[in-house]
């Protein structure tokens, strides 16, 4: 059932121009950044050879590319997710799902899986850019795998937050704005709090504050480190916002 709903979400997403516009422009931005860095790398290469143990192309070109994906997702996910529930409410189609023999959990997870699949498509297409480098060179596959895992978790985290925002209102644009504010707020709050606390030498509260900031948790993946604490933080955020969404949907039945 979850996959049926996810399939429906993907189908309606691709039936609207939004999905195509987002795909086109994210690829344009990412490709531009990628080529620019590649160009810089080619110019730097003669100097790099003289350095002992120089950083490779994966570190200098591919890792920044994935950081750009993270930033692009921060803007794209609220736009893609705003339709998920808010638009169904506005078009009065939510009844279709609620009247079907489905639990709210299935509805929420179905929509979540649908959105994450679309986001993974963006990540997948973007990954083709570094893979093209294999034509003339070598890649650090360990680092690449770490980057892919990290950005996938990050995308899922953004999706969960934006899905929650989407069930708070019947206005898609308001949902997008709420999602964007939530994400940005979490990033800033987590970051600032973690820095401040660490500055005073409070390591444990600092680590706790880090839970809030999805981008902070993405950092270790960018260095090729699969950090179990960062993974736990991201999973915790995903689970929290999914549970909030399910509870909110259930409450809508009671409130009317």
């Amino acid at each position: 059932m979850i996959f049926t709903i996810a399939g429906k979400e993907l189908k309606t997403l691709f039936a609207s121009p939004l999905a195509w516009v987002v795909l086109t422009f994210t690829q344009l931005i990412l490709a531009f950044g990628f080529l620019k860095r590649l160009d810089d790398f080619m110019q730097l290469q003669p100097q790099l050879i003289q350095v002992p143990n120089p950083p490779g192309i994966t570190e200098l070109v591919v890792a920044p590319l994935f950081s750009t994906i993270a930033v692009v997702l921060l803007f794209a996910v609220p736009l893609l997710a705003m339709r998920l529930i808010a638009e169904e409410r506005r078009n009065q189609t939510m009844v279709f799902l609620v009247s079907a023999p489905l639990s709210m959990t299935e509805i929420a997870l179905g929509k979540f899986v649908g959105l994450v699949t679309f986001l993974l498509l963006i990540v997948g297409i973007t990954t083709l850019m570094p893979l093209a480098l294999l034509l003339g060179g070598r890649l650090d596959f360990g680092l690449l795998a770490s980057l892919i895992i990290g950005v996938a978790l990050l995308a899922a985290c953004f999706a969960a937050v934006a899905l929650y925002a989407s069930c708070l209102t019947a206005q898609p644009l308001a949902a997008a704005m709420i999602a964007f504010s939530l994400l940005l707020g979490m990033l800033l709050a987590g970051e600032t709090a973690a820095e401040g606390l660490r500055g005073r030498g409070w390591q444990v509260p600092a680590a706790l504050a880090q839970v809030l900031s999805p981008l902070k948790n993405f950092e270790p993946f960018g260095k090729g480190v699969i950090d179990s604490y960062a993974i736990a933080c991201l999973l915790l955020l995903i689970a929290t916002f999914l549970i909030l969404t399910i509870r909110r949907l259930d409450a809508a039945r009671l409130r009317g």
Partner: protein, 318 residues
């Protein structure tokens, strides 16, 4: 076989006891109960804002009642919501259509979500498309269809999984007369093997389609009986009498067998007959003898309307 048939005919498909729903201080539905047997069509009647839609939302699990119990074919809607919902097909007031899907994709999605097994799905979808007259537009996007066709798609979505209970909220609103006739035909067809609850404020619709009628007003049930009972309640037949040179209304009312007479216009009178009497012959004779200039004698179409006005206004006064 006959035994099984009668058992099925008596099977209770919907049972709702003491449903109430409050929105803050406002009580939208107050202690409404209803019961429906297989093969019955129940007309849910009431003015706008009477609580029809709220009741239907509760019956389909879209809205939790403040108090009361609902069971669908013996399955409690609150204890086992998915099992109960699997037996319901619901067409809300605004059909919940995804405009960007084709008719076929959408009806297929409805079948999937209602857990129609894969092997039977194509046949079920084909069948319902044919029954609702949608085969020709199966590949069109729902957004490009006319309102009448969209309403049919909404109906198809509600019955594709062959539910025991079909709940339709004002299914003919906004349609032209031909489309209304078609949809009514479909509903009557549905009534043969499903239980149907139909909400409307169009009176002839209830008369032509339903077996039983329940009238809501201000969230309360003010009447619940069969169609025949409804007419009986009103007290016999009514006729419209057109006279070119009419006598005084009191003279008409004095004719034996006439319970009540009132002037609908200068030359048209509405007469209701007392129970069991038929003064038509007497009327015609008097009209001829006293040169009233009889030009019209027709059964009054608005009998249900009168009952309705009578019931709901009585409620307002008390």
């Amino acid at each position: 076989m006959a035994k099984i048939m009668t058992d099925q005919a008596a099977e209770i498909t919907v049972s709702a006891q003491g449903l109430s729903r409050r929105f803050g201080a406002h009580t939208a539905v107050d202690n409404v109960s209803l019961e429906l047997k297989r093969g019955e069509i129940l007309g849910f009647l009431g003015p706008n804002g009477a609580g029809k839609t709220t009741t239907m939302q509760m019956l389909t699990g879209n809205l939790a009642p403040s108090s009361g119990a609902i069971s669908i074919c013996g399955v409690d809607l609150f204890e086992r919501p998915t099992a109960a919902k699997a037996r319901i097909g619901y067409l809300p007031e605004t059909p919940p259509l995804y405009r960007e899907l084709t008719v076929r994709e959408y009806v297929d999605l409805a079948a999937r979500l209602h857990r129609v097994v894969k092997s039977a799905r194509t046949a079920a979808v084909d069948d319902v498309l044919a029954r609702c007259g949608l085969t020709a537009v199966a590949k069109q996007l729902i957004g490009t269809l006319s309102k009448g066709y969209q309403q049919r798609v909404g109906l198809a979505q509600a019955v594709v999984h062959r539910p025991d209970v079909v709940i339709l909220d004002e299914p003919t609103i906004g349609l032209d007369p031909n489309q209304i006739r078609e949809i009514r035909g479909l509903i009557r067809e549905l009534g043969a093997n499903h239980s149907v609850i139909l909400s409307t404020h169009i009176l002839p619709e209830v008369e032509s389609v339903c077996d039983r009628v329940q009238i809501l007003h201000h969230g309360c049930t003010v009447f619940s009986d069969s169609i025949a009972g409804l007419k009986q309640f009103h007290g016999g037949r009514m006729v419209l009498l057109g006279l070119r040179h009419p006598p005084a209304v009191s003279e008409l009312a004095a004719i034996s067998g006439v319970a009540r007479a009132e002037a609908a216009s200068e030359t048209v009178f509405r007469l209701s007959f007392a129970n069991g009497s038929d003064p038509t012959d007497e009327l015609v004779r008097r009209a001829g003898r006293e040169s009233w200039g009889l030009y019209q004698l027709a059964p009054a179409q608005s009998s249900l309307e009168d009952v309705f006005v009578h019931l709901t206004q009585k409620e307002d006064q008390s």
